[in-house]
Symmetry: C2
Subunit: 322 residues, 2 copies
Amino acid sequence: METYIVSDVGGTHIRVAAFDVSTLALVAQKKILTQGHGLLPTERLVNAIANIGKEHEIKAIAIALPGFLDPEKGMIIEAPNIPDWINLPLRDIIKDYFKVPVFIGNDANLAALGEWKFGAGIGHKNILYLTISTGIGSGVIIDNHLLQGERGLAAEFGHLTILPDGPICGCGKPGHIEALSSGTAIGNYVREQIALGRNSSLNALSNPSGSDIYDAAINGDDLAIESFSRAGKYLGLALANFLHMLNPSIVIFGGGVSQAGELLFKPMRDSLEDAIISKEYLQNLIITTAKLGDDVGLKGALALLLSKYQSPEIFTQQILFN
Amino acid sequence: METYIVSDVGGTHIRVAAFDVSTLALVAQKKILTQGHGLLPTERLVNAIANIGKEHEIKAIAIALPGFLDPEKGMIIEAPNIPDWINLPLRDIIKDYFKVPVFIGNDANLAALGEWKFGAGIGHKNILYLTISTGIGSGVIIDNHLLQGERGLAAEFGHLTILPDGPICGCGKPGHIEALSSGTAIGNYVREQIALGRNSSLNALSNPSGSDIYDAAINGDDLAIESFSRAGKYLGLALANFLHMLNPSIVIFGGGVSQAGELLFKPMRDSLEDAIISKEYLQNLIITTAKLGDDVGLKGALALLLSKYQSPEIFTQQILFN
């Protein structure tokens, strides 16, 4: 059987799956740690692909990767959570090993492509996908095409400046939306306020986690509620900016923090409505959560392969997974 | 002779031109006032087209328009400088009159298309065009396609929030880049500082114009220089955001304020370099000024018609005007 091999590489886990080229049925999948056993992440990735692909012919490979990439050149410029991966020609390394075509893509970009092809974005041509977890990632579909920019560096919406004098982002620059509305930002705000002597049920915990803060908010803790509503307020302001620039028909939220639901989304909508320059942007706009869950990277990588091997007409006809 | 008729409608002037369909040579052009002689702007536009088109067969008409449009539906939603044009089905009005296909587009969007096809953007696939005059307009080319969004409302980059508590924009919302870096913003800043008792050669003038401020800056007036460098600083911050989102290969500046040159662009580049999250965005990036001058609206409208009537292969082959 001829298969597409896809992989989703994160700082902690490498996931690999094989799909039947003709039916797109899932043939096999596997999840391993990214680091360990004295092997480099690249070696572990090669082994995982070899292992899952060994019983079938491989037609092509696609890999979803964190950080900055140049998809055209197949280069990882920098992968924040995998220290060794700087200026690494990963595509050619994998290609030289398996002797089949290999494609790489940024994980949030491919997640957007996956949600468009197989998930919450089916039937939409203009999509903004935002994943809110430790950081804020994003991917954009414009007129049924993935926004990549000249060198694949586009769609870094987490690094929109919202408060030029605001808190420092993971990237080192001040006031980005990631530094105001990510899970990390929510946790930092709670800790800061407690350090300032703020009263909260979270006082009892030395280092409250995201789910601690969520539970406290559900139980009516003012600080916990405020930490989500502050994040939501800035997210709504950022979203207004994104709508002015992209005018999508749907905004899809992925990532763990999105599961906080109305704690985050009610203040977000309020602030979005305040900041939008015309109600026309909100007419028929759908704001929803992602559908593909943990599979989003793998299915996004599969969507990338289909974009290469299906005719444009068939590719833009949305299909459903079985 | 079969002709394309194009028009560029502004708050003050309506320009109309006819181009030979086979050679793209300019056949005739005319410029009239948008309002006057007891006629509505729509009537004046129809007359101008009829006048210039009367000696030739018209193949199609394209019109560049200010404000919010729905290009798919051919509707003007709101045109800030032409008070009567609210929810106006202008495309169908013109089409019913002339019985030929009619297309409309936002003037800044079409300017981007014009610069891509005929001007500073020739050969580039990913372009950000910003026009800085009274306000800040923008147009974006992604992978040789005009960014329009679901309803044609995309690419409103002038309404990027830079300072949430900053000065009020023409649209009524606070802190947009248009309220910080446009010609209006530069003038407002000078007037504010003078009202606060700031010493400046501009004190002598009751209402200094843009060119007064430019002249004062060239002559070493501190306040005038500062008004441009403040605008440039915020523009650089906005530009970093745009690059993170779009990763273009070229940024083209049009509009009168861009003619201030290094007074504006030096501080802009400094602040851009400060704010960019990776030098990769600046590698091989071209930042330049527009080439088409006052013709940009007409040539943008012509480019829109070519996108409709030329095959995609021929259309994306860049051609030069004679």
